[in-house]
């Protein structure tokens, strides 16, 4: 009975988490209320793995812990979810990219401070994977946070010769100057793969499109 409860809580945690969970983490999350030892958790994970044997997902141990992942034989189907629609960038991602662009080199903490909210780790990951952002050092303060900056590919993809071509903050704040600057940048001629769906006002998200974080 207790075993069953532990199994279910662990399954809930693993299903909800967007990161792998280590046994230590799970133990810490549960220890205040459930008297489950790490050995109990390991046993429960084994039972969970067995119960997933006939399911399209599986329990997998990776470097930083355990996660539930879709079995590879379903990845083609799942990939269609991403192919179907041109993804739309989340507000958080665009603002993060903009801050890295204008305030580089900048740490994640500084971005969070300016935006006033904490950031999903996926945002930086997406930007790194897309090749627009790179880690260019660390700030020598406690925690040694990574410093982020834009890449040459960022300039290429946005058809910029240098960041100096972007309007400055005072210019941006004046609607007329902003329009003039955008015109100067040839706002209408953007890279070919910018989907027309992107042209919509950023304030009116079409909730039916997949959002990239």
């Amino acid at each position: 009975m207790e075993e069953n409860k532990l199994d279910k809580i662990l399954e809930a945690l693993l299903l909800a988490s967007d990161q792998p969970l280590s046994v230590e983490q799970m133990h810490r999350l549960l220890s205040t209320d459930l008297s489950a030892s790490k050995a109990d958790i390991r046993e429960a994970l084994e039972r969970l793995a067995t119960s997933y044997e006939s399911r399209p997902a599986q329990l997998k141990e990776v470097g930083s812990g355990f996660r539930l992942q879709i079995r590879s034989e379903y990845s083609d189907w799942v990939g269609r979810l991403w192919q179907e629609k041109p993804p739309k960038y989340s507000r958080a991602l665009l603002e993060t990219l903009a801050l890295i662009c204008y305030r580089q080199p900048i740490t994640r903490g500084e971005i969070e401070e300016i935006r006033g909210v904490s950031m999903s780790p996926n945002i930086i990951k997406t930007l790194l994977e897309r090749g627009w952002v790179r880690e260019i050092g660390v700030r020598e303060v406690p925690g040694r946070p990574a410093l982020l900056g834009t890449t040459p590919q960022f300039l290429d993809d946005f058809s910029l010769k240098s960041l100096d071509e972007l309007p400055s903050l005072p210019e941006i704040k004046d609607p007329e100057q902003l329009e003039a600057a955008l015109l100067r940048l040839g706002q209408t001629a953007i890279t070919a793969d910018a989907a027309p769906a992107q042209a919509q006002a950023p304030d009116a998200p079409d909730s039916s499109t997949a959002t990239v974080h």
Binding site: C101, L163, D164, P202
Partner: protein, 276 residues
């Protein structure tokens, strides 16, 4: 009223640059307390509703004179203290004053239709507002994704589509995102950020990328002669910013040896970046 309501310890004012140690003794109501009090209300209707409910009264049985009196007391206290008051509060005060004078006057014998009876209108507005106030409280209690509800998710180890297919956002989107983020930040910090040449920022990144391999670079290696004097200035500013922000160290092996820019080493004193 204010969208960002924060209850915090009253800030003591500065007088000619000097922080005051305490408030003057004769001022027995800290203005801030009253401000916080009023900020807890979403406008005059909300304040009126509060005054009514505080006395356990039904809207339909408001002792209008008494409530009006209380409302006026708050408003006049606010204006005595010269605190800025949203116009709506004054409009409501005028309306209440009008209702009060009507109540005190002998009832007109004829022509008294409730077509534009300000009492009727006020009671209806209060009722209507209260419906939505209650509805908003109910709404806030409903389970919400991310707060009370969590999604079950699992991804394949690799997603078939490559990251490269992500489209390039428009520059406009990017710039507007920056503007919005900065505008929001300014609302928090109450100071605007001065113009800063982007070329310095860009150069800071380039220098960091160059030295991140671990090998220090001499200053002259960081500037390209074709960039001319401006390039050197930009480069120098970038190096200074990097050092200031604890992102790089400036070293010199012996006097008159070339300055070397290297990856920052752990420091004793904590230097926080600019913009704090």
């Amino acid at each position: 009223m204010s969208e960002f309501i924060e209850v915090q310890a009253p800030k003591l004012p500065k007088i000619q640059g000097q922080q005051m140690d305490k408030l003057p003794d004769d001022l027995y109501i800290p203005p801030h307390a009253l401000e916080v009090f009023l900020e807890a209300f979403e406008g005059p209707l909300d304040l009126l509703l509060y005054l009514i409910r505080k006395q356990n009264l039904n809207i339909l049985d408001i002792p209008l004179l008494k409530i009006t009196q209380q409302y006026m007391e708050y408003i006049s206290l606010m204006s005595t203290l010269k605190l800025e008051l949203a116009a709506e509060y004054l409009v409501m005060a005028a309306l209440l004053a009008e209702i009060k004078s009507r109540l005190l006057l002998p009832k007109p014998v004829e022509g008294e239709e409730d077509g534009d009876d300000p009492r009727m209108t006020l009671v209806r507005r209060l009722q209507e507002y209260e419906r939505f106030k209650t509805a908003s409280e109910n709404l806030d209690q409903m389970p919400r994704v991310g707060r009370d509800l969590f999604l079950a998710q699992a991804r394949p180890e690799r997603i078939a589509t490559p990251a490269q297919t992500l489209p390039v956002p428009q520059i406009r989107e990017l710039i507007e995102a920056f503007r919005d983020a900065m505008e929001r930040a300014e609302m928090f910090t109450h100071h605007s950020i001065a113009r800063e040449p982007l070329s310095v920022r860009e150069r800071m990144s380039r220098i960091l990328a160059l030295i991140s391999g671990g090998k220090p670079a001499a200053f002259h290696e960081l500037c390209d002669p074709v960039e001319g004097r401006l390039g050197v200035v930009v480069c120098l500013l970038a190096v200074l910013e990097l050092v200031k922000g604890a992102m790089a160290d400036l070293t010199q092996e012996k006097p008159f040896a070339p300055l070397l820019i290297a990856v920052a080493r752990a420091r004793q004193a904590v230097v926080e970046g600019e913009g704090k």
